[in-house]
Subunit: 497 residues, 2 copies
């Protein structure tokens, strides 16, 4: 089906094929965004079919023999990992060798199952009816097992899944980091039991239109200009980049709290990473962020390290207070900042504070492994979920909508993804410490609403590289260190002492 002209050097020909694959992925991204933002609900079935076909075609095009032949012809020419072309060949070879293991039919089937399961999950969550979602989760697990079998030489099944989101990461390493965190997080939660009172001022009402205005102002100050960025409402926030110059965020605004504002800053972090990738990497596998954890480190940087800092609110609180004069008129800045930083064990990962968030992730990481190993069955899942929420966070789960059904990840086949959220928190502080070491104190600039020096530093050191460096190499280049939970724990202890 390829009709790419057969002229030029091997590298030129390879790049043309990769461009074709990237264009199909561009279309997949738009179909996905559209399905979640714009599509009339009755269009879901036809859309699932079209998305499955596109996934199948882009996968089929990528794993075709000619790509392998061109990679073979180019063997030995990619010696310099510092060169863009060298990196392109390394990344392409790795992706090709992995994708080649997976039959295109299975890739298409997984895409179709995602479309079907996410609709079922949506209905099940609305009705808090886990039983109706269970067969879809079962099906996703079966497909995951088929996928894992494509990599039969990898001993730990979960490592196969991790590798798709975090090159070079192993289950063992995640366990090592999470073990280091788990008890400390639980201890901080214990220590801060009284915090929830601090959150009182953050109960609304905060009229939705004014929250949108607040979000708009923050995005503008962060540097998201409307010629390339848009933001929409969806039930679950996400960020998407179909192509260069086209960054789309979503948020979910609830009149009763300000979660939407923080999730807007979070998605901005994903968006700006993608936006600032070197445009010469467009339409190649180098053209996006290098891994989920590095991506998440940046969303957490803008949400937490910037967006929950005292300096940020020195700039923005007067504006926020003026927008919501009725609700916040009597709340002073320091009470508000305490409120947005309160540690408060709750049911919902997406609403969690910086400390309890990690425990939500650890719970999911454990359950994913148990589901895959079969030591927890789909039927038992709600019960196990609820028991462990009690154990880690001391909360009672009143229904599955606020329990095991809260996240869409498993519905869309994302197993192995959750741990990268918490790794992202860890990495965010490692990179942040280096930025502060280079730039000096950022508080003064933030308190004037000026975030440009941080953004430019991150562009220079992280964002522009796209996927040129594997996550571990990038982290070492930026921080001089490997994955290390200590800076993150120091940060938490200092903040929540």
């Amino acid at each position: 089906m390829s009709v790419v002209a057969e002229t030029g050097s091997s590298l030129e020909r390879l790049k043309r094929i990769l461009g074709e694959v990237a264009d199909l992925k561009h279309a997949e991204a738009v179909l996905d965004w559209d399905a979640r933002v714009s599509m009339p609900p009755a269009g879901a079935e036809a859309r699932a079919e079209a998305s499955a076909t596109l996934t199948r075609l882009s996968h089929g095009r990528f794993i075709a023999d000619d790509v392998g032949e061109l990679l073979g012809e180019l063997e030995g020419t990619d010696g310099d990992p510092e060169s863009d072309d060298g990196a392109l060949l390394r990344v392409t070879r790795r992706l090709w060798e992995r994708a080649r293991r997976v039959p295109s039919e299975l890739a298409g089937e997984m895409a179709r199952a995602n479309g079907v399961a996410v609709a079922a999950w949506d209905r099940a969550k609305s009705a808090s009816d886990f039983a109706s979602f269970a067969p879809h989760l079962q099906r996703q697990l079966e497909l995951k097992h088929r996928y894992i079998e494509c990599f039969s030489e990898i001993e730990t099944a979960y490592d196969v899944l991790l590798e798709d989101y975090e090159e070079g990461m192993t289950t063992t390493e995640v366990v090592r980091v999470f073990d280091r965190l788990k008890d400390e997080l639980i201890a901080i939660v214990e220590r801060r039991r009284g915090d929830s009172a601090a959150e009182e001022p953050l109960r609304g009402p905060f009229p939705v239109a004014l929250q949108h205005e607040a979000g708009r102002r923050v995005l503008e100050a962060f540097g998201a200009d409307v010629s390339s960025w848009r933001i929409d409402e969806t039930p679950h926030p996400f960020a998407s980049k179909p192509g260069v110059g086209d960054i789309r965020l979503t948020t979910h605004t609830d009149e009763n709290d300000l979660t939407s504002l923080f999730s807007t800053m979070h998605e901005f972090g994903h968006g700006i990473y993608e936006y600032d990738v070197d445009p010469s990497f467009a339409r190649t596998p180098l053209g996006g962020g290098t891994s989920s954890a590095i991506h998440e480190s940046q969303s957490r940087t803008w949400e937490n390290l910037v967006g929950r800092s005292s300096a940020f609110w020195r700039w923005f609180y007067p504006q926020l207070q003026a927008l919501f004069a009725e609700t916040l008129g009597g709340v002073d800045e320091s009470s508000f900042v305490r409120g947005v930083n309160a540690v408060r064990p709750g049911l919902i990962r997406g609403d969690a504070d910086e400390v309890t968030y990690g425990l939500h992730i650890i719970l999911r990481f454990e359950l994913e492994q148990e589901l895959l190993a079969g030591s927890v069955s789909v039927g038992e899942l709600p019960e196990v979920w609820n028991a462990r929420m009690q154990e880690y966070l001391g909360v009672d789960v009143p229904d599955d909508a606020r329990g095991v059904l809260q996240d869409m990840h498993w519905a869309v086949g994302l197993f192995g993804y959750f741990p990268t959220y918490q790794l992202g928190n860890v990495v965010s502080v490692q990179i942040w410490e280096k930025a502060v070491a280079d730039l000096g104190d950022l508080d003064e600039a933030f308190s004037r609403g000026d975030f440009s020096s941080l953004r430019e530093w991150l562009r220079e050191h992280v964002y522009r590289h796209g996927s040129k460096y594997p996550p571990r190499d990038l982290l070492r280049r930026v921080t001089g260190s490997d994955l290390d939970p200590d800076p993150y724990l120091r940060y938490l202890h200092a903040k929540f002492a």
Copy 2:
């Protein structure tokens, strides 16, 4: 690149390939809709590339040898044109034989040129600067010539283009119909010189939000439910169906007039035709309307024969008057109906009344032929345009934005499309007369806001058939007659006597 399983009967295999092509076209439709409705402007370049790739791939997949082989294997099995499969083979064979003439590279190049030219046209129109658009128009003409050369056995170049929109239509037949109309239309325009006064009550202001509410109510009464339909604002109205259950209209709302309401009814006509196609035709070449003229006949039916009728306004005027009490409070129903039916020569095709509309089309039909023949050059076009507007409609064109740059058609390579608009007007009355003969007087139902019997009749006789019958056959099945301008002229004479 096809990874469609090679199992099943020849027909099943053919249908799977056609499904794959349809899914690529689904994606193309979403990319196009998104580019016009949602995309941040800086995303245009990457989008043009992605769209070109998808066009190239869907074209390449469709013209591949295996489709020809399967059509060969199925030769002789499609004897019964009344059977769905017979029709599918006939339509597929025709499209394959035409598409096969066109190299995929040219198809992709045309798609890319459209993306570039439409952006240039947009800028040129804003600045009323024809010179900046001229090179793009020149390029489109060159590509059209290359396209026409793919069909070298067809003597009349313009016939090649017509055939893409209107199977079996010839330039000679269009000329015959338009010659019959032209003098009569000019005579009616002459007779109704005093009409423009009747339009006074239709000057606004009509607040945009209330116009949206009016449009929403009309769409609801026509039967466009929100589970499958949506409507957005764009500079130029259009309708799109990415797939089953997903109908998207757009409109352009101007506070100074009610054009948006009529264009909403117009686009509804396109939308309902697509919506009501037999769902078993989905993901095949039978799954859309059979031709541009039949499509346009339905948009004009809902816009003019329904939407400008006295009976429609007997139902809707009280509501409209209540919505716009300030502007319409003193305007009685009959003055309003006279106003929306006033014949008033103007500059803009999209705003034209039923009589002058045809003259706008005839002008474009003539100019397209002259441009293709080279008897009018791109450079001379504005001058010739302006002179002919004076000749046919007696109006002075003050600038190119309201002259030759007003329509986007030529920017997106649509040559040969304009005449189908006026053929649609002709056909609309032929079908309408048959509907009224079958259903009896519709006025009573319309005046209650009930349009269901007409809609159901059109579904049964026209819409559900999709592309099963060629336009000429469909028209004959529905009306017992071939293309005939007389009913349309009778209608105009009766209405504008």
